[in-house]
Symmetry: C2
Subunit: 352 residues, 2 copies
């Protein structure tokens, strides 16, 4: 079946492009001796997680326990949970995960360390610990090598926790100096530093310039989107998820309405330097999706010579593809331009 025969809106995943994207990233990592640990947040599909592992990934990255449980059940045997897990309600689910897979958790504080230790004890299973540090992203992460040392020491004690190393996101200019300083502090105390995990698709190509990095966490590279293309990490031809939509109204000569609003595309913006609006319409690149309501994409056609008719199908490259995956129960998958199946987005909506 041709995709154009599908009901709209629907996300279309081009498996040929996905394969090319996965292969290219694995080759980059192989070339530079980096272990690849893809972040499944972009696709949320067990089918693609398994393919990433088949191609050479050492395991996967998840952020939430519930999505990691989906992936463990699908056979992923080595999972990094790159998110601070905090609170009594998390201990049971985290213990279940530790029993189901080789588990490592990234964290930046003692409360999270206590939660993870309690889960390891309840599971009677080892849980690895990476200490998250900040390298310019102003998100989570310890601020100084001394703080990293304090947490590493606590994780390196007796018991079921095992300190495995350091992690940061996004990899920034401060990564190398932070790791160098932390490494010397850890060595002085005899704490081994096995893993240095860095992440982010936009500047993945500079990972080999960080000499201490051992592991790369990237997600968006599987599909790419308007933001990673603008960052130079891929091209428009690498974009593997398009949202197929229909023109449902043409109220004025300069305006079209698409059946893709914020429930379909999300409200995520890109920097003005990347492009205008809420996605790129491939067939009408001069059109601007200027506003979104939940079900309406309001398109400004004033810059277009050619203009679409009501009923016409158009494809949108999303601004940020990961959040689009999270909005849809299923994706249609294509090979050689033909629809070959519908895959349930099994780890969609896993916020806990």
């Amino acid at each position: 079946m041709r995709p154009e025969a599908l009901d709209t809106p629907t996300p279309l995943v081009d498996l040929d492009r996905v394969e090319r994207n996965l292969t290219r990233m694995q080759a980059y990592c192989d070339r530079h001796g980096l272990r690849l640990r893809p972040h499944i947040k972009t696709h949320k599909l067990p089918q693609l997680a398994r393919r990433q592992i088949e191609l050479g990934a050492v395991g996967i990255t998840c952020q939430k326990i519930s999505e990691a449980l989906v992936m463990a059940e699908a056979g992923c045997g080595d999972i990094l949970l790159s998110y601070p897990i905090v609170g009594a309600a998390k201990i049971g689910p985290l213990a279940a995960l530790a029993r189901a897979t080789r588990l490592t958790v990234g964290l930046d504080n003692e409360v999270a360390l206590g939660t993870v230790a309690a889960a390891a004890q309840e599971a009677d299973a080892e849980i690895g610990v990476l200490v998250e540090f900040e390298s310019g992203g102003r998100r989570s992460g310890v601020q100084t090598p001394d703080e990293a040392l304090t947490l590493a020491r606590q994780a390196h004690g007796d018991g079921p926790l095992v300190f495995r190393g350091l992690m940061t996101y996004p990899q920034g200019p401060a990564t190398a100096s932070f790791v160098a300083e932390a490494r010397s502090l850890l060595e002085r105390e005899g704490v081994p530093l096995e893993v240095v995990s860095v992440g982010g698709t936009p500047n993945y190509g500079r990972t080999h310039e960080v000499p201490q990095a051992t592991e790369l966490r990237v997600g968006t590279y599987a599909y790419h989107d308007r933001a990673t293309v603008a960052a130079g990490a891929g091209t428009l031809d690498d974009c593997a998820l398009h949202v197929l939509t229909s023109v449902v109204s043409r109220p004025t000569p300069d305006r079209a309405i698409l059946d893709a609003g914020s429930k379909t595309l999300s409200s995520d913006r890109v920097a003005p330097s990347v492009g205008e609006g809420y996605g790129l319409i491939l067939e009408y690149p001069d059109a601007v999706i200027e506003r979104l309501n939940e079900e309406h994409g309001i398109v400004d056609l004033s810059g277009c010579a050619r203009r679409p008719a009501i009923g016409e199908r158009v494809r949108i490259v999303p601004n940020h593809v990961c959040v689009v995956s999270n909005l849809h129960d299923a994706v249609a998958v294509t090979r050689d331009g033909e629809v070959v199946g519908t895959w349930r987005v099994a780890a969609r909506g896993c916020t806990r």
Copy 2:
């Protein structure tokens, strides 16, 4: 169970506040002789749709066929689909809906009219038509009373379509004059104008000033949010959906990380006049949720005298509550401050 014992992040719906909100809106409509037709996009819950009807609503409003099918199955016997339905792939589902409920469809173009006519024929069931007009919202809708007349004439012919009236969203300053002019055109041709349907929670309280309005479509009033409170349509105490979240990191004195990012709160903004950031933290109203990643809410605490500890639970009033409902498979419901159940968001993710 107290909500604070729940795993986070989780949406909490206060059923006492919902009941108050529903009752107040029904009273407004009763007072002014308006028929209330609530938009279920806000809650997406059959339980609340049925309650709205019990309290006096004449039916409900949906935007997509798939969500209307969920509601028809749950017993909603009168549904307005306030969205242009276009294309061959829609005919079968629309016909199924026409067999399941008393159906009216809003539209603004002939292609949609053709789709609806084909569905009515396939279903062998009557489908009502409202012609959508624009009254200042710059979204869909015919631009002139003459265009409305043309479509009304076509819908008023023989066959299973029945022209029922006009609709607009959001109700704007041009509503009254447009309806007056369209009415006189229609009367001249003997086309009866039964329904004038207007909508939008923010300025619902002015609906009775539009003398021709017969029906009010409102959704957000069931829960309210930061935007409708700013518009004066409700108060902070009317906000019936809070997102319960945990502080998972405090990387610096001025920064907290919440386990609620764009997958939990959406990236919807509000106007700067309404407030800063991606939601209001009730316990720390001076804090600003300044950035969201998918799972991280990055909070600026620099304006706060008191600051939260890691592990602390906080409640967020969303900027735009309808899109929050769409992100969650289930909501915890409370009465008198206690959790009394978990309701599946049955019409979540219904984009088609």
